[in-house]
């Protein structure tokens, strides 16, 4: 069915809020900016819920609402595709965004640039909604880049803090690498299918023989190339290895931003892209394999780093990367609905973790967990919700994270071949690590003695209710969000997977209910083991962690603390050489000689040419007539010379 005004208002309201705050925020609205932004996004949320009802009733919508240019088969259009996948994203984006808007009223209170913060948030929400609601690749790309810009602006929100400005720049530049591949992928899509419209492209895939290309000695069929190039974009945006380096640094932004953009919504755009383009990925076995391995590797890689980090936000950031790895892994084994399911539950508990961390930072004014401890006594709401979120992410039975993570692990196990089994083992190991680092964080932050000094302890207080109410709402989500996708092995019907099936299909599971139960029990067991180990090491008073750090203070510990030296590696291999080339080659040669030569030379020669021309413009009529006659004569000669001989 066609698109209605309701659908257009979903991104339209935040856009309007952005325009109002952007134009009048500095002078007129100032401290009241949150009213406009929050009401707008709450309106979007309400309309999204209505849309979900519609789609649950079996209706989907598809169509262009505005066509800018048509040239041959190239159409530049704004259009929406409202299907099952889109509405899941709508719910996630508008819910988390609304809660973060409310939370920020307390968190950002009194900050300079308050209106700027809210106008950026609105712009981000608009862009993200355009991204997920798009019905064509171009608009997807527009949304993709726009959320990138918002991310940049918000990471660098405290722009007079150098580290924030650098982190914003880093996020933007690292994403360039992925987006470059993404753009090439879009070009290839257009060249091959003559369209950027989802339906047209996916329909053309039905009976398409992918030609084989020879690139640098490799044979690669074109669909694999397209899939891998699109995946490049996902790797950048969803912070997968090797482009994960920007996400931890992005924590320089205000904490509500980390919750919204760098945990719940924007970073999941890559997973959304994989699910949206599933017809393309499904056609290439090798691309899927690359996706699955990248996801599993990233999950493990990031989880190990999270074990030893001491900054509360960085632990959660690495946890985000690791969980995104799970989602990518799910897509890689064809279990798109499981990936999206995890995306959806993860949005709740990860946003909750970040907002909880924000509440802690608000109280302690410090991000280092070594200076915390015992906060449970001072801020019970924050502590309890944080506990539940951590249980959820650790896969504690019946909580949201349990169902989604379990589905991923099971479908990985049940996917074709031995690779599936290996990836499943990695996934289960990551589940153990996840439980461990999550509870290490809990014990160090909320339990034991406060280590931040006496003076500070007096000022510890729970955050205002404008901040704790969003925590409680998200907490409900972290508990109950998973109940829409209960596992068939326990005799339920997986409504979530069933709902998404028209868009992403459903993978064949090779295995019995018995095996599924075994996978489930094992993941519960490793989760509990991780929690237990964290308690042993950090919950009880013990010196084991220090002794372990001392004993392992060689390769493993130092490597983990330094995040495997990936940043240093990039610095040495990419950043320094690029800067060297820029300083020693580009600046003097290209910039100095060539560009400045052109920039100064062209106007000079144009000026010279203009001078000559102007001398013809005498103002004397018979000069003009002479020039006309000369021109006519020259044209006759030219015409005879060019065409006369035929």
């Amino acid at each position: 069915m066609g698109i209605t005004a309701t659908h257009m208002l979903i991104p339209g309201l935040p856009l309007l809020a952005f325009l109002i705050n952007g134009l009048f925020g500095a002078r007129v609205i100032k401290e009241k900016a949150h009213w406009i932004a929050t009401l707008a996004v709450a309106g979007s949320w309400l309309l999204s819920v209505l849309t979900v009802m519609d789609v649950l009733g079996g209706k989907t919508y598809y169509g262009d609402v505005y066509r800018f240019l048509t040239s041959g088969s190239l159409q530049l259009a704004v259009g929406f595709c409202i299907d099952q996948l889109t509405v899941v994203m709508l719910v996630v984006v508008t819910t988390v965004s609304t809660l973060v808007h409310i939370y920020s009223i307390g968190y950002m209170h009194g900050e300079s640039g308050y209106w700027r913060f809210y106008s950026y948030l609105s712009l981000f929400t608009f862009s993200m909604l355009m991204l997920v609601m798009s019905n064509n690749f171009l608009q997807l790309y527009f949304g993709w880049e726009a959320v990138g810009v918002c991310s940049y602006l918000l990471i660098g929100f405290y722009y007079n803090k150098e580290s924030a400005a650098i982190a914003g720049k880093k996020a933007f530049i690292v994403n360039r690498f992925g987006d470059f591949g993404f753009a090439l992928g879009l070009f290839l899509v257009f060249i091959n299918f003559g369209s950027l419209d989802y339906r047209t492209v996916f329909a053309a895939l039905q009976n398409w023989q992918s030609p084989v290309l020879h690139i640098a000695g490799f044979d690669i069929d074109r669909i694999t190339l397209i899939a891998l190039l699109l995946f490049c974009g996902a790797v950048g945006k969803s912070a997968q290895f090797p482009l994960h380096v920007w996400l931890p640094d992005a924590m320089e932004g205000p904490t509500p931003v980390s919750a919204l953009i760098h945990a719940a919504t924007m970073v999941t755009a890559g997973v959304f892209l994989l699910a949206r383009c599933n017809p393309i990925f499904n056609m290439s076995h090798s691309a899927m394999m690359v996706v699955a391995i990248t996801g599993a590797f990233t999950a493990l890689f990031a989880a190990t780093i999270a074990l030893v980090q001491t900054d509360i936000k960085r632990v959660i950031a690495y946890s985000t990367i690791s969980q995104l790895g799970y989602m990518v892994l799910a897509c890689g084994v064809g279990a798109y609905s499981a990936g999206i399911f995890h995306l959806y539950t993860h949005a709740f508990f990860k946003a909750l973790l970040f907002l909880g961390a924000g509440s802690v930072i608000h109280a302690v004014h410090d991000q280092d967990i070594r200076n915390m401890g015992g906060l449970y006594r001072h801020m019970k709401t924050t502590a309890i919700t944080f506990w539940i979120a951590s249980l959820s992410i650790s896969g504690f039975p019946l909580l949201a994270g349990f169902f989604s993570k379990d589905e991923i692990l099971w479908l990985t196990y049940a996917s074709h071949g031995s690779l599936g089994k290996v990836l499943w083992m990695v996934g289960t190991l990551v589940a153990l690590l996840t439980a461990f680092y999550s509870f290490r964080l809990i014990f160090l932050t909320f339990h034991g003695q406060f280590r931040g000094g006496h003076e500070k302890e007096h000022h510890l207080h729970e955050s205002p209710s404008v901040m704790t109410i969003p925590l409680i709402i998200l907490c409900v989500g972290s508990v109950a969000a998973g109940w829409v996708g209960l596992p068939p092995a326990l005799g339920f019907e997986n409504h979530f997977a069933h709902f998404l099936m028209p868009v992403v299909g459903h993978p064949e599971a090779h295995g019995s209910h018995g095996e599924e139960l075994m996978v489930m029990l094992l993941s519960i067991a490793v989760g509990l083991a991780g929690i237990g180990a964290a308690w042993m090491l950090y919950g009880k008073k013990s010196d084991i962690p220090d002794r372990m750090a001392a004993a392992l203070n060689g390769v493993p510990y130092r490597w983990l603390q330094n995040k495997y030296y990936v940043d240093e590696f990039y610095d040495a291999v990419i950043v320094r050489p690029v800067i060297w080339v820029a300083k020693n080659v580009l600046l003097p040669v290209t910039d100095g000689a060539i560009i400045e030569g052109i920039v100064n030379g062209v106007p000079k020669s144009i000026g010279w040419f203009g001078e000559k021309l102007r001398s013809l413009q005498t103002g004397v009529v018979h000069h003009y007539a002479t020039i006309m006659a000369t021109g006519a004569f020259a044209l006759v000669v030219l015409a005879l010379a060019l065409m006369g001989g035929r």
Binding site: R67, F68, L69, T70, S71, G72, P603, I606, G607, F609, G610, L613, R614, L616, Q617, G619, V621, H623, Y624, A625, I627, M628, T630, G631, A632, L635, V636, L638, A639, L640, L642, M643, G644, G645, R646
Partner: protein, 479 residues
């Protein structure tokens, strides 16, 4: 030639305009408030517009007149141009104590000439229309009788215009000698047989047409009159001239070249291509160094003739459609830019230095923003109409294989951004020198600004309606 009463239906709009204009000429003797004359002439334009939209399609007077959608499209451009000119003229001329009724009537006759050109099916009716337009415009250019520059402009335009008419007549006689007819359809048929292809006389005739039409659209090297005349003429007349006669020139150019000389496509399109590149080069490069805004816009309008030529060079219906599209867009954006100058004109002391724009965003933010829109559009920056116009021109040229000319046009567009955006820079990034005082706040000029600015934005955002109208209207051309 037999006269049939039924033929009158095809020239009903022209007839109405001619009769009403003559009646107004008489009535003007007793009208003391020239505002009334202005409003009456506007009403005549409106009525003509209404009849133009409902005129039947067909040929009349033994093929002398062709009434088709192509002609209708251009007539709408001319009538819009006339209406806008009438609206901006009153304040300008009354401030100079030179408001006369003849002015409006001459404007109507010039427009009548353009309309005749657009629907001419014969070289004779074409010439008739062209001279009616030209003679009326010569007088209009010199309408500030006490201003020496205006007089100079008029005489220059007249002398060079007469010179170009000679070229046209010579071309017509050569064609008549070769084909034995002056009817465009007949010429196309004769040339289509291929017996005289490559005949030097035919080539010479084509060149004569190129010169004559090149003069009317101000294409280099036949543009020399334009800067002097545009600068000297009263600003409303400059606005009128920079749009109307140029569009009329393009209207007949496509009729003669693309339709009648279709078989000689390779020949004339090569000549026009050279002309187009030269025109874009001269227009844009000369505009760079101007300090007088009217002169800058004069060169800019030369450059835009170069862009529009690209559509004719393509030689396809798509190319003609792109050219028509461009003419409509150009009419709005160019006229709008002139209307800004007219509005800012300080009580007849003249507002023409580029420096007068300094800091305009502080003193007149609304006007500055509208001027910014026109400058962006003239430079071809999306999402304004100018971008749409160029986009379709370039697409048509690429599709017909003229990639090199698109590259040239793109380079010159980039150069043009320099002088258009210089105005924007002056308005927004410099502090105002002095308070620009507008003693009079002519509402009619503001209406023109609102209409043209809205058109520039709306066509830029929703190009489909205009594009498909132009495409449908160009369907009279084959290929």
């Amino acid at each position: 030639m037999n006269f049939q009463m039924s033929d009158m239906a095809y020239i009903l709009p022209e007839t109405i305009m001619a009769v009403c204009a003559m009646l107004l000429l008489v009535a003007d003797l007793v009208i003391h408030d020239k505002k009334v004359t202005a409003w009456l002439s506007l009403a005549i334009v409106g009525a003509t517009m209404a009849f133009t939209m409902s005129v039947p399609v067909g040929t009349a007077f033994s093929g002398m007149v062709v009434s088709d959608r192509y002609a209708t499209f251009f007539k709408m451009v001319f009538l819009i141009n006339a209406a806008l000119t009438i609206l901006v003229s009153g304040a300008y001329f009354s401030a100079r104590k030179e408001e006369h009724g003849e002015y409006y009537i001459l404007m109507l006759f010039a427009t009548l000439g353009m309309m005749m050109m657009a629907s001419s099916g014969d070289l004779m009716s074409l010439y008739l229309g062209l001279e009616l337009m030209a003679l009326s415009t010569y007088v209009l250019a010199g309408f500030l009788r006490r201003d020496i520059k205006s007089n100079e402009a008029s005489v220059k335009y007249f002398m060079l215009g007469a010179f170009s008419s000679a070229f046209l007549l010579y071309g017509i006689s050569l064609i008549y000698g070769l084909t034995g007819t002056t009817q465009l359809a007949g010429i196309a048929k004769m040339l289509g047989e291929g017996t005289i292809t490559g005949n030097p006389v035919l080539l010479a005739a084509i060149v004569m047409f190129v010169v004559a039409f090149g003069f009317k659209v101000a294409a280099a090297p036949f543009h020399m009159w334009a800067p002097d005349v545009y600068e000297g003429a009263p600003t409303p007349v400059t606005a009128f001239m920079s749009v109307g006669p140029k569009a009329a020139g393009f209207a007949v150019m496509a009729r003669v070249f693309v339709a009648a000389f279709a078989s000689e496509l390779a020949g004339w399109s090569a000549l026009l291509a050279m002309l187009a590149v030269l025109t874009m080069a001269v227009g844009n490069i000369m505009a760079l160094g101007q300090t007088n805004i009217k002169r800058m816009l004069a060169y800019s309008s030369i450059a835009h003739a170069g862009y529009a030529l690209i559509g004719v060079i393509a030689g396809t219906a798509q190319g003609v459609a792109a050219m028509m599209n461009y003419m409509m867009i150009y009419a709005f954006m160019n006229f709008g830019a002139f209307a800004v100058i007219i509005l800012l004109d300080r009580n007849g002391t003249g507002f023409d230095g580029l420096d007068d724009f300094r800091g305009l965003s502080k003193t007149r933010p609304g006007i500055a923003f509208i001027m910014l829109l026109f400058m962006f559009s003239l430079a071809g920056i999306p999402p304004t109409a100018g971008f749409i116009g160029k986009f379709y021109l370039f697409t048509a040229a690429v599709n017909s294989g003229h990639v090199y000319i698109v590259i040239a046009a793109a380079i010159f567009s980039a150069i043009s951004a320099y002088f258009y955006l210089r105005v924007v820079r002056l308005m927004y990034m410099e502090a105002p020198d002095s308070e620009i005082m507008c003693a009079c706040e002519p509402v009619r000029v503001k209406i023109v600004l609102a209409v043209t600015a809205a058109a520039v934005v709306l066509i830029g955002l929703f190009p489909d309606a205009l594009v498909s109208l132009a495409r449908g209207s160009a369907s009279v051309f084959r290929g």
